[in-house]
């Protein structure tokens, strides 16, 4: 069971997820402190470690639009968020898959902050609202990268195979 800790609308940009002024910080071990830096309350809770791993961020369409900055994915991967959105912007989705951030495409998702969710392979059940929503599976080509444990491991496998 996972709890929704943040509910967002459409077109959440990477400038909201990880503001540009922190882009000189690149290490995945250091980026989480700036996640949603301008959502002051949420960022403070995150830094106080008040948010449990596997907590859920729910968003509308086009989540992660804008910059290709990988910090926007690594800053959410560190605290082990699950991101459920109606759909994602391309580069953000690919970065998330490459880094192993759990992103779930759920076109009809309805959930509010505080709701309890049960997430399985093909659906999200909102236990609080007693509704369930189908998950759109990732394209097979992307799933292969997840199955390998991320793009670094996947590339390493390919490199060794080419040797």
């Amino acid at each position: 069971m996972s709890k929704v800790v943040l509910k967002l609308g459409d077109d959440v940009s990477t400038d909201i997820i990880y503001p540009g002024r922190f882009m000189a910080t690149v290490l995945p071990s250091e980026t989480p402190q700036y996640a949603f830096a301008d959502l002051l309350d949420f960022n403070a809770r995150l830094k106080q470690k008040e948010i449990q791993p596997l907590s859920v961020i729910v968003a509308g369409g086009n989540f992660g639009c804008g910059s290709s900055r990988e910090q926007a994915a690594s800053c959410l991967k560190g605290p082990e968020f699950i991101v459920i959105a109606r759909d994602f912007a391309r580069i953000f989705l690919q970065n998330s898959i490459n880094l192993g951030l759990n992103t779930i495409i759920c076109p009809d998702i309805e959930a509010e902050a505080g709701d309890e969710l049960e997430i399985s392979a093909n659906q999200v059940v909102n236990l609080t609202q007693e509704k369930s929503f189908a998950i759109t599976p990732l394209p097979r080509a992307r799933q292969a990268i997840i199955d390998a444990g991320g793009l670094i491991a996947y590339t390493r496998e390919r490199l060794m195979a080419n040797k």
């Binding site: 909201i16 540009g20 002024r21 086009n62 580069i91 670094i152 490199l159």
Partner: protein
């Protein structure tokens, strides 16, 4: 069944007679660009090789470009150290398409690649920057990727598991009216189809109005294709592309051009008439919140920014100088100008444009991304309103979530600099 330009490029880059939208391919990469975030790419690249017993050498140093532009000169020790790491790596790996912080050959990556002839029609170009879509202006398939994906490209020379995108065809007829520019066309299109209207798709630009546009205008259009969510924008190469490459980009050898098949299959076709366009403004805080200039005229502005990979080229500076000539920037406005590259800076200097801008009260900064992404020069105060020729107006984009950013063409920005309010350049121009 015919192919779109991008399908043709991907077929060539995978040695197949044809590919179609939805296929998964692993194309060879012709050019792989990073800026300061090359520092993160280097980390990821080295991690790939850990435990393999292989030496971490890039697949082809001639196909990698490294360009400093986001924070030049460095604004702090962390950036300076990242830049040093990239500089050292470029030297050790023999990467010659490296543009350091220099007054002769530096500049914004999306200007440096075209003006040096690094980008050619038919190439597959990837960059760790979302505005890599710019290079579609030269008929290449160019798109943004993340740092880890770039590390994988550096290792393998291919980009893995690419799904061939579907394509939206945009056909533009009619003549642009005076003071209506390429920027107005792309803002209008983004407003029409929304910030997610082209998600995971390519936008292929056609029509007489596109054919008449200079490469500079095409760069503006393809640059902002990503603001409609597009994977890439592309203008199939033509005589203007060859002119640009041979006359401006120093390319000596013959260049092959590649167009779509007449029976290519498109996801959607959009018809636009340039003659019907008014100057456009993208209002806070999304790029698709587009209005005509008349709807927001009179809005008081505090900072005007001319420049960026979208609109910092010579023709942009020329129209700004023409509008400002002999006049003064309003007292309530700080006007910052960032030529897109050192080469353009020098050209604008020699043409007298920079003197005109400075005499009018503008501050001419060195080439670079400047305040566009809020990391460096020209941050906004709480409650400030900026009017910029840049490409994004997301909340916080120019360094302050309590400020507002409006996006427009260089002509609108220049006319507004004189009045201190958003102003239609067509009136009294």
């Amino acid at each position: 069944m015919g192919m779109t330009v991008v399908e043709k490029i991907l077929a060539r880059a995978t040695d197949q007679p044809s590919v179609k939208a939805g296929d998964v391919v692993e194309p060879r990469v012709d050019l792989a660009m990073s800026h300061e975030n090359g520092a993160l790419v280097i980390n990821q690249f080295q991690e790939i090789y850990q435990g393999t017993g292989l030496e971490a050498k890039v697949w082809d140093p001639d196909k990698i470009a490294l360009i400093f532009d986001h924070r030049v000169p460095a604004e702090g020790a962390k950036t300076a150290t990242n830049q040093k790491k990239v500089r050292t790596f470029a030297g050790a790996q023999g990467i010659h398409k490296f543009h350091d912080i220099r007054g002769d050959e530096g500049g914004i990556c999306h200007q440096i690649l075209p003006e040096n002839g690094y980008v050619r029609p038919g190439q597959v170009v990837v960059g760790t920057d979302s505005h890599t879509t710019s290079h579609g202006a030269l008929g290449a398939f160019a798109f943004g990727i993340g740092a880890t994906e770039m590390a994988s490209v550096w290792a393998l020379g291919r980009i893995l598991n690419v799904e061939v995108p579907t394509t939206i065809k945009v056909n533009v007829v009619g003549e642009f009216q005076p003071y209506v520019l390429a920027k107005d066309l792309i803002l209008h299109l983004i407003g029409k189809i929304s910030a997610q209207g082209a998600n995971f798709k390519v936008i292929e630009f056609h029509g007489p109005a596109i054919r008449k546009l200079s490469t500079s205008g095409r760069l503006t259009i393809c640059n902002m294709a990503v603001e409609a969510g597009a994977t890439a924008g592309i203008v199939p190469a033509d005589a203007e592309t060859l002119r640009y490459l041979h006359e401006e980009a120093g390319v000596k050898e013959d260049v092959e051009i590649l167009g779509p098949d007449a029976d290519a299959v498109y996801d959607q076709v959009i018809e636009l008439d340039a003659s019907q366009l008014a100057p456009q403004i993208a209002c806070p805080h999304t790029v698709d919140n587009v209005k005509s200039v008349q709807e927001v005229a009179g809005k008081v502005v505090n900072q005007i920014v001319i420049g960026s990979c979208t609109n910092g080229r010579l023709d942009d500076l020329q129209i700004v100088a023409r509008i400002l000539e002999g006049k003064k920037v309003a007292r309530n406005v700080r006007m910052l100008v960032f030529p897109a590259s050192a080469r353009i800076y020098l050209q604008a200097l020699k043409a007298g444009y920079l003197a005109t801008l400075m005499e009018a009260g503008a501050v001419v900064m060195n080439s670079g991304c400047g305040p566009c992404l809020g990391v460096h020069q020209g941050a906004l105060a709480d409650g400030d309103v900026a009017l910029a020729t840049t490409n994004r107006n997301f909340k916080g984009r120019m360094g302050n979530p309590a400020a507002e950013v409006y996006l427009c063409s260089p002509a609108v920005a220049a006319a507004s600099a004189l009045t201190g309010k958003i102003t239609d350049p067509r009136k009294g121009a």
